[in-house]
Amino acid sequence: MSNSDEMLTRYLFGELPESEQSQLEERYFNDTQIFERLVQLETAMVDSYTRGQLSPELRDRFERAYLADSNRRARVRFSEALKTKLDLGAVLPVTDSTVVRPSSWWQRLSLSMTGTQKWLAFSMALALLLVSAATLWLWIQNSRLRQDLANIHSQQTNQEQHARETEQQLADERARTQQLSAELDRARTQTPPAPTAPESSGSTIASLVLMVSGVRGTGAGDAPKLIIHKETQQIRLQLKLKEHDYKGYNLVLQAVGGNEIYNRQNLKARITRSDTSLTVTIPASKIAAGDYLLTLRGLTAAGEIQDVSQSLFHVEKE
């Protein structure tokens, strides 16, 4: 420490007599070089104190004189903080002819960290990245598994529901088949066929239900009988189909050994849950007592016409 520095130090510690103190102050108020030197000496001394680099004698003076003031103690606190910050790692030396001017945020971040701090930061960042990736992967896998489980559960429920519905339909079909078989048996054995005749003599419509029996026969046993009363104005013929394989049907009614009475083209079958049938209504005036043959032909998707069935029935008039 030079004599001049010693004097400046004494000033900083308040150890100069008032006259010398004033002289120095006048000088540094008018000479910025002296002022800057004084400021830098103070900074160097504070930093040396913070780093424990002052001689015991100087340290003693420093603590006694300099640290008596709260503003100066704050300067020491700042120096300690700066020391901690700097000790965390060495800054890259500036060796280029210009100061590095980083443009990206990454470069700025990188420059703000140094040495060990940078290494630690990169390690932490890498670890964080790995943990994040693993967490994301697990989350995706978990979501997929949950989705699969939900799908399987949904499929099981649907299958069970479908099985229940199928069983129910099967049971309904069996019951209907039994009922129809019973009706058919009854129709064949009864004279006149009870299900086909109008129940009431006062009805204006007479109905006859015929089961489609195929083209090779007109049905075993006696032909169904249709009774037409005086009041009957319309006759409704209903053909129940065992199968429905055609896009349309042609229906021809003719008296046995006589002329064609009724011809209807491109009839559409009526399909319900219980059966499939064709229904036509014919004026009663066209039908005389006697035997009749009802011929059903089917229209295929290719436009071909095929015979489906022939039904024989007997008409009586009262």
Binding site: Y11, L12, G14, S22, E25, E26, Y28, F29, N30, T32, F35, E36, L38, V39, Q40, T43, D47, R51, A68, D69, S70, N71, R72, A74, R75, R77, F78, E80, A81, L82, K83, T84, K85, L86, D87, A90, V91, P93, V94, T95, D96, S97, T98, V99, V100, R101, P102, R108, L111, S112, T114
Partner: protein
């Protein structure tokens, strides 16, 4: 009590430093820094307030028509008076406020907390500096004693500055940083 300067009075004060407004502004800032340090070294409690008070008084003298040839010297004379008044006032106010002094453990804990606070503020204040300024401060004040001279020489060379100019620039940046940190810490303490 320090009263704010009117814009007219401030303009007149600036003119006293230099007829050119930009140069006057620079000289005003230099003298303000000198005054703050002066009050600090003299141990007055509120260096910035006393500096403002000094400028106010000088401005009032200018209002009164007094011609000032050496603004630095005149300010110093006024500052001495302000300093004496402040120290007198401070002596009167220096009644002991606390009779219960904290024990060593408590003082140590408070010291650690204070250090954490300063570190936190330092990070914040460093972020406010430009990247060039931050790099310069950190590079210049590295404690690597063996390499310090060589590093500072290389730094001055890279910036195209004389060693003295580099030292002044680093010191000014440090002062700015220190002021920011001290204010930040005081705000946190107040909270």
């Amino acid at each position: 009590m320090t009263a704010a300067l009117t814009s007219t009075a401030f303009a007149r004060l600036l003119y006293c430093f230099d007829p050119d407004r930009d140069r006057a502004g620079e000289k005003y800032e230099d003298l303000r820094r000198t005054l703050i340090k002066f009050f600090e070294w003299r141990g007055t409690p509120f260096p910035e307030d006393h500096t403002d008070e000094t400028f106010n008084r000088v401005a009032r003298k200018l209002d009164e028509g007094i011609e000032i040839k050496n603004i630095g010297g005149y300010c110093y004379e006024v500052a001495r008076l302000v300093c004496l008044e402040a120290l007198k006032g401070n002596d009167r106010k220096c009644e002991p406020l606390e009779t219960d002094y904290p024990d060593a453990a408590q003082a140590d804990a408070e010291r650690r907390l204070e250090h954490e606070r300063y570190l936190h503020c330092l990070e914040q204040c460093l972020d406010k500096l430009s990247i060039e300024s931050r790099t310069l401060v950190i590079e210049y004040y590295q404690d690597d004693k063996r390499d310090r001279i060589e590093r500072r020489r290389a730094l001055a060379e890279s910036l195209g500055l004389q060693r003295e100019a580099l030292a002044n620039r680093a010191q000014r940046l440090r002062d700015k940083l220190e002021l920011c940190v001290t204010r930040c810490s005081n705000r946190k303490t107040a909270i």
